[in-house]
Symmetry: C2
Subunit: 332 residues, 2 copies
């Protein structure tokens, strides 16, 4: 059983999951893919290689057989487990609880080597809509307080399986960094009676030079103080604190904004490894007025080291204005 332990120095919870040690690694040491489509647990026809699916988009009424366009399965090596009680308890000087939660994999398409930038727009919209569906399902479990949806594309971004997929980790605690962000947004609202993120979006659209893409409902901009070169935030124009509150009619426009951004990154940075990170409100806090969900896109092109580990600060060699200029193709 995984375990959560509280760090007495930071106050944050760390997940201990000894089972994940035995995961196979489908990338070689240089980051090259060593997994063929035949051996890939996420490929069409290999449904028996994963735990049974919990959700799928398919053209038939089967389960765990071919015919699907998107599949959600429990992670075979889960960081957290659905079974059991939290059993919060002290351990001498310290605090721990059972690692109760959920860890799912969203297999984005049957295609082994087609990333989100290459799929039909409707398939990208399906992936983004599935994020909402999984949150709505998992939040019914009263033990869970926060869901982190993310995507690791490429070994440098933390992926162990090359077949494109996203992941869902539902946790029994709210990460401190999320609490801190909410608290700061709340202070901004208390002072100004305005949403911090709405302010940022309005400012960025006005200034323009950090905006990569805009459509009727979404805007993609490089943050003024982005920690990583070429990182982008995808914001909904309409205020809303929860991803699962987005109307189904908006996912086509969201997919367009995401795919355009990923296509520009793939072209300019030669298909970099990247992470997607969803920021959305926890279940146990009413942040409706002051929080605003967004999706972070982080290409992995540099390395981090001891400075970043010690300070949680970053050294970025590409100002966001320049990154957007390059991504728009205005300079080379």
């Amino acid at each position: 059983m995984p375990e959560l332990r509280r760090d007495p120095v930071t106050g944050g919870w760390v997940i201990f999951s000894p089972e994940r040690k035995v995961r196979p690694q489908f990338f070689g040491p240089g980051g090259d893919i060593v997994l063929t489509a035949e051996d890939c647990p996420f490929c069409d026809g290999n449904e028996a290689m994963t735990p049974p699916e919990v959700y799928a988009l398919r053209q038939n009424h089967g389960h765990n057989i071919p015919g699907w366009s998107l599949r959600v399965v429990p992670n075979k090596y889960p960081a957290l487990r659905v079974e059991g009680d939290l059993d919060r308890q002290p351990e001498g000087f310290y605090d721990k609880m059972n690692g109760v939660g959920a860890h799912e994999v969203i297999i984005e398409s049957p295609e082994h080597a087609k990333g989100l930038e290459l799929l039909p727009l409707s398939a990208v919209a399906d992936v983004l809509l599935t994020f909402k569906r999984r949150i709505l399902d998992l939040k019914q479990d009263f033990r869970l307080k926060y869901i982190q949806i993310f995507k690791n594309q490429g070994s440098r971004a933390g992926a162990t399986i090359p077949h494109p997929h996203s992941q869902v980790i539902a946790m029994p605690v709210v990460p401190l960094v999320v609490v801190d962000e909410l608290n700061r947004a709340q202070v901004h609202f208390q002072e100004k009676e305005r949403c911090l993120y709405c302010d940022i979006i309005q400012h960025e659209i006005g200034v323009g030079k950090r905006v990569l893409f805009e459509n009727s409902d979404f805007v993609v901009a490089a943050p003024y103080a982005s920690s990583f070169p070429f990182s982008l935030n995808l914001y909904p124009l309409a205020h809303g604190e929860r991803y699962e509150g987005v109307d189904d009619s908006l996912f086509a426009a969201m997919a367009e904004a995401l795919q355009h951004s990923l296509q520009r990154l793939a072209e300019v940075l030669e298909s970099p490894a990247y992470n997607l990170v969803l920021h959305t409100a926890p279940f146990d806090r009413d942040a409706a007025r002051y929080f605003h969900w967004y999706l972070e896109i982080i290409p992995i092109i540099g390395g981090t080291g001891g400075f970043e580990l010690g300070t949680a600060s970053y050294i970025n060699s590409v100002p966001p204005e320049e990154a957007v200029k390059i991504l728009k193709g205005n300079i080379g």
Copy 2:
């Protein structure tokens, strides 16, 4: 000129340093070393390839010539620069200041391929004593508020040059994560009239199972809620909030504790890439009673991805008790 920009969402400062983009990369894509000793700017005889030294231990009275056993030089591609005023100012909705600070490299020995685990103990003590000397020198600059000393060993730990070296970044702001840690330690002290870290050290020595090494003045233990597999903290037994306050007589014992730990990691994990991270009190805050400096040793054996970027939480597959057992050679 580098620039610091404040992230309005986190409140933290990000360093923008466009010059660092052009750094040569002396590791190949697979992490292999592609730099020979002849071409290495940190090797004996190549002193002209670095900016002039600001400190050295040498057997002659020369400068920037061979004969040294340790050399400190400004980073050729500094994240922050010594020249100029901070010039704090708003930029529209945002905040920025000039990237004033210092960025130095401590070349730990003339040996191209000998890490700290292989050097004579006296050379390791010299490196650790040099950390203190550089802090004492740099803290005279009233513009600087915090110094991060760290070491990236190996490309996976963020090194671009394989020749063993540590780095010093002196900053005009205190990183938020440092402020948070100090605040938490202060609350612990206010409640208990005891240092949080002294409590942790006493508890760990009593429990024993997470302690790797102990001598008259230092203890090395795997933290109860360590974020990374096999990571270790080196604590001074005597309370003290500042690394630069350590008496010169203690560096031999500190070197023994550090070298023993690095040797065990090198043997058990096959010379992993690793980071060293110093945690010490900022200059502008009297944390004498409640903070306690320590050195963190983090071998880089797993990868991180979108989950860690979103939550600042970690999934660790090796509980610290097991890590210490393995490092002691009792299993594995």
